[in-house]
């Protein structure tokens, strides 16, 4: 039995073809060595790319928009970290002002302070221009925080108003080429039965628009000052804390 087992296994040989194939196989590997690190590095690169792309996307996604209209009309897009990630001028004066201030990547508080204390803005406000600031909230908590800050900054300014609104309203404003502050006033003028085009609104200053509204609608309580909040029906109403009694 032992002999039979030995003879049986003795009959098994690796033929020359198998040996030569194996030698050739190993020589091929010698010329083109297998890198154990290549798939690891490739996977790591993919992961880093996804993380980088994700981080880029998160950083450059706006969570709030600050719309400012005086005569310069412009908007500041704010990311979740409170940084200004984009600025957009809605008229020539707005674009010029933004270009002169360079607000990108500033914290929104610094950006607002820079705008309000700029020579251009101070000149407008001293000449009784009307500044409308609208905070478009994409992220509710941040929108509230920004509005609180702006309200605090401007509480002693009679010719500045600020309000908070929803993102959907902005889309309509932009479709007419208006920043929200002017779009809001444009709607008010239309509600008051005043025939005016979006193009005309774009060319007028906020003071001119407010005066026109006041002229046509003397009962309008917010002629020059006060904070306004948007109610659920999309109409603006006075915040009685800051408006003069009629």
């Amino acid at each position: 039995m032992n002999r039979e087992i030995k003879e049986a296994f003795d009959a098994i040989h690796a033929d020359e073809h198998l040996k030569q194939n194996t030698i050739h196989f190993i020589n091929q590997k010698r010329k083109h060595p297998v890198s154990t690190w290549k798939p690891v590095l490739t996977a790591a690169a993919c992961i880093l790319f996804i993380i980088g792309f994700g981080s880029f996307h998160v950083y450059f996604t706006p969570t709030s928009v600050i719309s400012m209209d005086i005569n310069p009309s412009f908007e500041l897009e704010i990311n979740r970290f409170g940084k200004v990630i984009n600025t957009e001028g809605y008229n020539e004066d707005g674009s010029n002002l933004l270009q002169s201030l360079d607000l990108n990547y500033d914290n929104y508080k610094d950006a607002i302070h820079t705008v309000l204390t700029s020579d251009t803005m101070e000149e407008y406000l001293e000449n009784d221009a009307f500044l409308s600031i609208a905070v478009v909230e994409i992220d509710e908590a941040q929108g509230e925080e920004i509005l609180d800050y702006i309200s605090t900054c401007t509480e002693n300014q009679e010719n500045i108003s600020c309000c908070k609104l929803q993102k959907e309203e902005v889309t309509k404003a932009h479709s007419l080429g208006l920043s929200y502050g002017k779009y809001n006033t444009y709607l008010e003028l239309q509600e008051a039965g005043i025939e005016i085009t979006a193009e005309q609104v774009r060319q007028m200053s906020m003071r001119e628009l407010k005066d026109l509204l006041q002229q046509e609608c003397p009962d309008n309580l917010d002629s020059a000052k006060g904070n306004r909040k948007q109610n659920q029906n999309g109409h603006h109403q006075e915040n009685s804390k800051n408006t003069p009694s009629s």
Binding site: M1, N2, E4, I5, K6, E7, A8, F9, A11, I12, H13, A14, L18, K19, N21, T22, I23, F25, I26, N27, K29, R30, P33
Partner: protein, 161 residues
């Protein structure tokens, strides 16, 4: 990577042994060739410094058995052939020892190994326990059971000579 000269030496010296171990586990030519190349590639890439020829041989035996086990466990292998189909493929090549191969190949894997290592390669139970990294008593148990099964299949018992 080890040199071409060294690889030629090792392949010429141990190719028959590696093929036998492959055949013992895999029982068909295609899988045997795969594992055969894998084993010698592992040798080529290995940085192990062998203390002796016996150390080198034991290393190759262990690597071959592990490579066979890995292939057996793989998805494709588990969804392909049954033992009878494999024997039908294998036995035409070894008609002269058909009965012996049938009997040995029908043993459980662990018993096949000890039969081969003991009765063909000449290893003792303690040496086999080191190669397979198993307790020596376990090796004795496998050997006893293998002999009993071979006796039942072939009507005789492998002698110890």
């Amino acid at each position: 990577m080890r040199s071409e000269e060294e690889m030629n030496r090792v392949i010429n010296q141990y190719s028959d042994m590696v093929k036998r171990v492959c055949f013992l586990h895999l029982k068909n030519e295609a899988d045997t060739e795969d594992v055969f190349q894998t084993v010698f590639l592992k040798y080529a890439l290995s940085s192990v410094c062998f203390e002796s020829a016996e150390h080198e041989k034991a290393w190759l035996l262990r690597v071959t058995m592990n490579a066979c086990k890995d292939l057996i466990k793989s998805f494709f292998r588990s969804h392909t052939t049954s033992l009878d189909e494999i024997l039908e493929q294998a036995t035409p090549l070894y008609e002269d020892h058909h009965d012996v191969f049938d009997a040995v190949l029908r043993l459980p894997e662990t018993q096949r190994r000890v039969i081969y290592l003991h009765y063909y390669e000449g290893y003792t139970a303690p040496e086999i326990s080191k190669i397979l990294k198993k307790n020596v008593n376990t090796v004795y148990t496998w050997m006893t059971r293998a002999k009993q099964m071979l006796k039942k299949e072939l009507g005789g018992v492998p002698d110890e000579s």
